[in-house]
Amino acid sequence: MDTADLSTLLETLCPMFVMVDSAGNIVNAGPTVQKLRPDEPMKGRAFLDIFELVRPRTVTTIPALLSLAGGKVHLRFHDEPRTALKGLIAPLPDGDGAIINLSFGISILDAVRDYALTSADFSGTDLAIELLYLVEAKSAAMEASRSLNLRLQGAMLAAEEQAVTDMLTGLKNRRAMDMVLGYLISSGSAFAMMHLDLDFFKSVNDRLGHAAGDFVLQQAARIMEEETRNDETVARIGGDEFVIIFKGLVDEVVLSDIAVRLINRLRQPMMFQGTPCQISASVGTALSTQFKTPDAAELLNAADQALYEAKRQGRSRHCLYSALVEAGFRTASSQ
């Protein structure tokens, strides 16, 4: 079989072949290889002037390349686009050079785009088209799964948010407060806990109905949010009971100021459908630093005792747990 016959055969079987002579000059190149450099006929040029040998690195000359019979080489174009190619070397008989069959390997996705390749550029048994099909089909399926994941994640976040939110007031709920407390205690942070109870709320509820009661709770929640910073936790933990956790704030003077401001604002009558609703608030405050090893129940209990004392003193008041301790209400675990 002469060179021309062989080339015709190869054009059908492997349209990406390159035939080189013993000096490394290109005798013939398959139609698909030539399509990659349409304006520069490859025939007659030196193989290594067009392609750069990437691997194996030790091979830099034509004799060394031709000695790699049956071996795989990695190549790329010297000029742009520097498409990567794989090549398999099959020597021709009698030292007449070799056939180097090229393939895109993994670079096929970019190659079909860069060179506008079509099915006709691949041999009928080449899996290139199937690979392209699979990439597109899998990408579409992956995209559908990803969009489902995003929606599920959105739903999960909404559910988690609801699980820690008091739906009436938009404040945190009891569960959220427990989580924040647990976190602050386990991380050893100093913080203050303010327990706030609305005074006369029951009478508003009884006289004006639940709608008025709900309105008052929402207004009270708004006031508490306005009087605190964003990183403080305001939670509604019962009907008209609230807890505010001040992270990193254990200054009793500052805390007392905040409590008094809160009480003063909550005492302003709230207008519900033209009817004034008059409430007030009693507040008790405890500090995590008042306990050697604070625990959530103990702190809540301390703030609760202070709150009870504030109520006992005639409502609309703020009482510090430290004042109770000084007055002799020592508990076993307090300092």
Binding site: L109, A111, V112, R113, D114, A116, L117, T118, S119, A120, I129, E130, L132, Y133, L134, V135, E136, A137, K138, S139, A140, A141, A144, S145, S147, L148, R151
Partner: protein, 195 residues
Amino acid sequence: MHGLINRAIQSFVCATYGQSCWLRVTESAGLGFTEFEAMLIYEDSMTTRVLDALSADLNRPQSEILEDLGTYLVSHPNMEGLRRLLRFGGVTYVEFLHSLDDLSDRARLAVSDLRLPVLELREVSPAEYQLHCYPGLPGYASVMVGVLRAVADDYGALAMLSHEGHQGDVEVITIVLVESAFAEGRHFDLGARGA
């Protein structure tokens, strides 16, 4: 029923008859929701109820609606991805017809739990083919009539299609190729992925 199939029906109804029609249909089918997820599996009866409700709402026979669905799947801009996947089947319409034998395997390769009925192409003459649709998905043959018609347009081929009805449990579609290069056809660029 695979969510992809339900989602295709939803997409077709919304694009063709509007969101309000889809809401009426899901309501009267008693779905309890209005959005199918493409990657979840639903009870078969849900799909049946949706198609029955759609047929009643539009006052059109189901087979006609399903043919339109098939056309939509190939020709609507929403479905460009699917059109491309089908065009991977061959360079000409006849090659595409022969690739239909592999369609259910191709679908399963892409989405492993998507089972489409087996199709078998029989060549009566170079200009006449019969597509045998095996059972497994009621209405699939009607959808395929619409798909084949739209794909013929896509390749620029002029073909006449008719749904011949049942032969035993197989449904038969006849494809008569009048002219394989009748018009220009739509362009198919292998590398246009994601463009």
